[in-house]
Symmetry: C2
Subunit: 426 residues, 2 copies
């Protein structure tokens, strides 16, 4: 039965995954067959016909899809928990821009990025979409570190050629040159680590830069990430800078950066219903970053509207505005924020439930990577083995154990991490 | 200089404490002298005159006052993270009451309570105000476990004689009898662990029970704790039960349970301005439990108003509606909740800052215990030694290191715990 050279492995345990926002699958003592890193089958019984396949038995542990973080600033790890009495723009100016400037020194970059990649692995974030800084050398180091780690990621060399301090601003020419250099090996193939076009946000990128980045993305079929509608002062500023282009989303669209290639927009706190419809139409992903939005007093993204509009959607830690690397903690914050919005909307916007946020933090975000974030057939085997024994599992269903782990578990409960079938070491 | 039998110890390290909501003291490489568990002095230099006093040097570590939790249900540890798609009343009925009923079995009580006390110690909560259940035997066990632990606590045998299931309801007579038995040894002396009168909340206590509990508290000078104004349905219910007594606060007051002896009221989400003024006048403590209020979709307590009215105020984990035992995590939630309230109030209710929540989680709540929660002279030496080396301390001020630790530290960073001068072992 086995084709020559095919790597086949069987894993046994309690599998939990969400194929849809309203559906949780739990398979107690299931058997999952992986072929060359891809899920082949998941069943409640062990096929007697395949005794030659090595079986790893994780006993009573939970096996979950790896967590997906759609918005992580690897360069801001050192700024977590600092300056959070500010709102977005002064926080950037006083805390983030001075920190990011340090990444002109590749040695500094390497030191921080090693810790960032390790933190993602430790907290079970098997795939992430990452902002570096404007600095080419440091960003290449980050790329290499991800490749060495075995984690999956999109890495963005950040572009900014206006409205930032001298010490953290590129010329238009350098920005394009470095972007082309950083993305030159991208083939659109099956690599685990890939570049992504990353204009920081409209205020720090001239129209000419945005336009050329849009062209590069379209021509090279490169994905795109940026920020949108996080804070009201930011939105006013964009309006001032581009008074004739319409909404914030329209500005990105005008420059070919709103879905011409696969795109993620972080925050989406204040998008209009028209903008939300546009995101759905263009299949632009929204990265919901509830902790960052609370920490910077930005507001609460109305996630329910995005789900109703069927906008592709995932979660973001947004480290360092978000202080938690852990996607389960972000899931909890997403639920909590949505409960406040439910109260604030006269109970119109129904709160998110556990299955919905679990979906967002696995398959929802995973869709940006292809077939990632689920244990359905054909999905890449990204998985976490969770030993929740000390959380008290007695008399609990698998769904309750998942809830419990999401709310009160931490990195110590993650016993094993797999990405595309390969075990990750910390 | 040393009196005979006086225990004197000197500790060296980076001391941080908040004597007031708007004042943070940081003493780098300070020397703190403790006599018989009480802070005698804290200075930047080592007195040469006292070479005989043993000195413990904690190097570059932070030394903080122990954390204070004004509202912790020791019986709900096993329910953390479960059923949080419900609001207060159905959550109680479906999850909490069935769980609390299990504490009729002292063996079950012992098993859970051991873990609850250990969790408090692990997370650096050196003082707590605790709900047990209605069951005398289990509650006595909890009391003994706290005494053995070295932690400080007020322990409440819960009273409920109406509006709860048969399996979790006392008769009026039994409730009073068991309360008298549980509190019989209370002398008002200097013990670290003491009983506290604990009517669950108005809906589950008849008027006759509330009145007698008020009398007991006043006669024996026992403190009181309960819940107030957590949820709108709960408030309506109280109004229905006591239509002529006025506000929820007025109901407690009518039965002598609103400040006749030292009193804590948890939640205070929906108290009127008059009720807030009454709390200030009667010196009734508010326990702010932001995680519980988010998790049960209750709302956000306007803490700023309570600070402005100078209501005595501290933080509560409210485990199990709150999922985090850690008071630093509760501090972060308090800040985040207040930022939403700031946005919702057209920026009228200024958000809480780090110093304010740090004060609330140490000296603010500590005031319920006397001189607790600060390193001022005369305060009991409750302290945590924090090794924050792996959080990145380079170039940070002590205030920034505190911020960082509060946001991203966890129990692993707590190296030592002291209560009233004595080291606590886990």
């Amino acid at each position: 039965m086995t084709e020559k050279g095919t790597d086949r492995r069987m894993y046994k345990g309690n599998f939990i995954f969400a194929p849809a926002p309203d559906r949780l699958e739990t398979i107690e003592n299931g058997y999952l067959l992986v072929e060359d890193g891809i899920v082949k089958s998941l069943s409640r019984t062990h096929s007697e016909r395949e005794p030659s396949i090595p079986l790893e038995d994780f006993g009573d542990h939970l096996i979950l899809p790896g967590f997906v973080d759609l918005h992580f600033h690897a360069s801001q790890l050192n700024q977590r928990g600092l300056g959070l009495d500010r709102e977005l723009l002064p926080w950037l100016e006083n805390y983030i821009f001075p920190e990011e400037a340090k990444f002109s020194d590749p040695a500094y970059g390497k030191e921080v990025y090693q810790r960032s990649v390790k933190a993602l692995a430790r907290y079970g974030t098997t795939r992430s979409v990452v902002f570096a800084t404007i600095h080419l050398e440091s960003t290449k180091i980050l790329f290499d570190l991800f490749e060495q780690s075995g984690l999956g990621a999109y890495i963005g060399k950040v572009n900014m050629d206006r409205n930032s301090p001298d010490y953290l601003r590129e010329t238009f020419e350098q920005s394009i040159k470095d972007t082309l250099e950083f993305t030159k090996d991208f083939t659109g193939g099956n690599d685990l680590v890939n570049p992504i076009i990353t204009p920081r946000f409209v205020p720090t990128c001239s129209g000419e830069l945005l336009k050329d980045l849009g062209d590069i993305a379209r021509n090279k079929k490169l994905p795109v990430q940026s920020h949108i509608a996080e804070n009201l002062a930011e939105i006013d500023w964009v309006k001032e800078l581009h008074p004739t282009l319409g909404s914030y989303a329209n500005v990105y669209e005008a420059f070919g950066l709103f879905g011409d290639s696969p795109t993620i927009m972080a925050h989406c706190v204040y998008n209009s219903d028209e903008d939300i419809s546009l995101m759905a139409k263009n299949r632009v992903f929204a990265a919901h970053c509830p902790y960052a939005n609370l920490n910077l007093s930005s507001g609460i993204m109305p996630v329910r509207k995005y789900l109703d509009h069927q906008v592709p959607l995932g979660l973001g830690s947004d480290v360092g505005a978000g202080h938690e690397v852990s996607i389960p903690k972000v899931m909890v914050a997403a639920i909590q924020s949505s409960k406040i919005l439910w109260l604030n909307s006269s109970k119109k916007l129904k709160p998110l439930n556990l299955v919905e946020v679990f979906y967002l933090g696995t398959k929802g975000g995973g869709e940006f990577f292809g077939q990632v974030g689920s244990f359905e057939e054909g999905y890449e085997f990204d998985a976490l083995v969770i030993d929740d024994g000390d959380l008290g599992t007695k008399d609990l269903t698998l769904e309750e154990r998942l809830q419990r782990y999401i709310y009160i578990g931490d990195d110590r409960h993650i016993q094993e991490r797999f990405v595309r079938g390969k075990r990750i070491s910390l």
